[in-house]
């Protein structure tokens, strides 16, 4: 295939090297990757310093780590959990290898939910309330990793979210806030690599979680952040002791970067709102912003609580009065006006799609809803097609404590194709109690 003194390159290599046909190239062995010695030391129980984490993360982002190396590093950080100093070092290393945004404001507010609770889509409401009160809140969100919808997936059914840095800056300068997909900006690029492997292993450790969350916030130029930690038997954080520890460590590490973090533990016993899936969650968000009488009250309450905390740490409300300010911003219509303006600035408000195939799952007997399995509901929504199929998911008809009759719908499965509907229903039939009626 090649003559002597000719070389063939992969398409990736062509792109990376920026070479043209006929160029002369020199080939040599890559330099030894010393950071793997640090990974090995960590496997055998030795803690690492800032330099070691910097070199590991630098090599990871340069694409020098194979999946085997990445998995070993993450497994070692799970087997012997990162301590506070290591978490600070990892966070710093992750910030330093990516871009950093800087804003022309003394206070830049952010929020984050550590996830695991279907339908917990407070972000658009919080951003609208906070920005309507004059604070700067340049919110970037992820797409779904293991869930049926990420905030970016949901928001995309309402407005474009794939903003480059220039557009994002223009939106924030005009409206004080944005709700954009973080993937288009190059913040904490190591995180995406780690998250892919963590997902494959289905592990999520405290140190990595903190470094993941905070590195993105620090890189985004935030000075204050509200962190939502849902706690429940089938949420990501299952007990108050774990949540307390996580909140304490998160706040301490954030402080090392002059980032003021306030962690709020919230109810994680059941999904938030009624929709699970991009479009179904968007309808919930719209109904809260429109102050509809049938808007899900739990979503409204959570958004108000979180926005209130953001207004307090951002200096727009005194301690204890943030929630009231948030609620009046919502009730008076200012939040919806701001949300509409942000959507227009991002490229125009859209109407979310509706599913063509909807099927009810009903109570097998009369009784009271005593348990709801978040994980099974999320699984079901994914099997129905979410988040790829925007209209797909699950729409809740009951909540914990409700009394139901035999045959009464517990929830509806929404799908865009009959095949996905059948696939989801097949899982529902096999999965055991998704909701427990006693």
């Amino acid at each position: 295939m090649l003559a002597l003194d000719e070389i063939g390159l992969s398409e990736t290599a062509w792109d990376l090297l920026g070479v043209a046909e006929g160029d002369e190239v020199r080939v040599s062995h890559p330099p030894a990757m010393d950071s793997l010695a640090d990974v090995r030391r960590r496997i055998y129980g030795n803690r690492l310093d800032t330099t070691a984490f910097s070199e590991i993360v630098r090599d990871v982002v340069a694409g020098r780590y194979t999946d085997v190396h990445l998995a070993a590093f993450l497994t070692a950080s799970a087997a012997l959990p990162l301590d506070e100093e290591e978490t600070v070092s990892l966070t710093r290393a992750m910030v330093n290898v990516g871009d950093r945004l800087r804003w022309d404001a003394a206070i830049v507010v952010d929020k984050h939910c550590i996830g695991g609770l279907p339908g917990n889509r407070t972000t658009p409401i919080v951003v609208a309330i906070v920005a309507a009160n004059g604070l700067v809140m340049p919110k970037t969100s992820s797409r779904a990793i293991t869930s049926p919808a990420g905030t970016a997936d949901m928001m995309e059914t309402l407005a474009p979210v794939d903003l480059d840095i220039a557009t994002l800056r223009r939106v924030v300068e005009a409206e004080g806030g944005c709700i954009a997909w973080g993937g288009a900006v190059h913040l904490s690029p190591a995180d995406d690599i780690f998250v892919r492997v963590e997902r494959e292993l289905d592990i999520d450790t405290e140190g990595q979680l903190i470094a993941s969350v905070l590195s993105k916030k620090i890189a985004a130029g935030s000075t204050h952040v509200v962190i939502d930690i849902p706690v429940g038997a089938t949420a990501k954080v299952r007990g108050k002791d774990v949540a307390d520890r996580l909140a304490e460590r998160m706040t301490a590490v954030a402080a090392r970067f002059n980032l003021a973090a306030r962690c709020l533990q919230t109810d994680g016993s059941q999904p938030v709102g009624r929709g699970i899936g991009p479009a179904l969650e968007a309808f919930d968000v719209l109904s809260v912003l429109h102050n509809k009488s049938d808007a899900p009250d739990d979503l409204r309450q959570r958004a108000v609580t979180l926005a209130g905390a953001a207004l307090e740490i951002g200096g727009k409300a005194s301690q204890g009065s943030g929630a009231a300010l948030a609620l009046s911003t919502l009730a008076g219509g200012a939040a919806w006006k701001k949300f509409e303006a942000i959507c227009e600035a991002q490229g125009g408000l859209r109407t979310p799609p509706q599913a063509r195939h909807v099927y009810p799952l009903v109570a097998p007997r009369a009784g009271r809803i005593v348990h709801i399995d978040n994980r099974k509901l999320a699984r079901l929504a994914k099997l129905a097609g979410a988040p790829g199929a925007k209209a797909a998911g699950v729409f809740m008809e009951v909540r914990l404590g409700d009394d139901v009759d035999r045959g009464q719908p517990l929830f509806h499965v929404h799908a865009e194709t009959p095949g996905e509907l059948a696939y989801a229903l097949d899982y529902a039939a096999r999965a055991g109690d998704i909701m427990m009626v006693a």
Copy 2:
């Protein structure tokens, strides 16, 4: 590319499924892989039972584990070392997923060297001595993994080693022994998968090492095994304490499978013999078997010690008299005769190749050889082309304690091409002291 109701398959899938064009196939999601939950439990510090190891190893051999999963399992077994029960469970699981050889003999002898010492090529000599004394010794060996030559690589320069089970059985029935490559027989197939990932991580943990060695011996139908543990600052095992622990654990685990193991700690301070690399080591082996006056005495002594131990545990010599019997078998020519017969049975004795490019590295000053770095010598031999280039490697001109003049050759680098020679010499110039002259 495909019409409705048509499916395209990878070549691997065609082979595995054994389907033909036009066949009807049904596609469904793979069943959930429950053993990953055990891997996760192990990462978080919980010990696993026999069932868990069986399911993990079954899924590994079925090709269901990605590199990420494999690396996580091996890293978890390094971060919290396998205890004795876990090592027994892993060994059993690894034996059970592969073939097992059975021999028509009450005693089947084996030997193993845990490696890390260049040139330590006692196996062909030991097999020849033991088989010449009427014991059954069906020896299978590996090719180089990280070293410049595995026993199979070396032996291949003297005779065919790629024997299928039928041929191997015929050779052993005719001659009592063989020196074959283990890759052609399907013993402990999980081991090859684990070893590939361990090599990529450059970790080698006690539990995995024991399971790796013993699963192969048990599957090969051995009843008695002699294990050579070289101990030295730059060998795989660096201290007596580690060697003692390894020997104790190895013997205890072997006993659980009715396998009698005798571990011998040997000098690991410098390479064995003079050659490092397939053909150069073969010349050492031949000179010992031929009782040449310039045969490397250290290789002869080690082979006699190990063969003596094998003769003792195999019941052919009383305790303490094995080495003398081994030596007389060697000196009387019976070992060479047996080796020749085994080579003929395997397909014919060959003459190893010689390198065309040989270059001396000389002492930078007069003095005494006080340190030899096994790892750097192995690296050098590999850069010169070993084991792919059979004639390549390093030929030692001095040993520890020798007095040398300035400019006297310490060793020669052998290469098959000028490029490989240059590459090796470039490393030698950069590597620091390969041998220390003081």
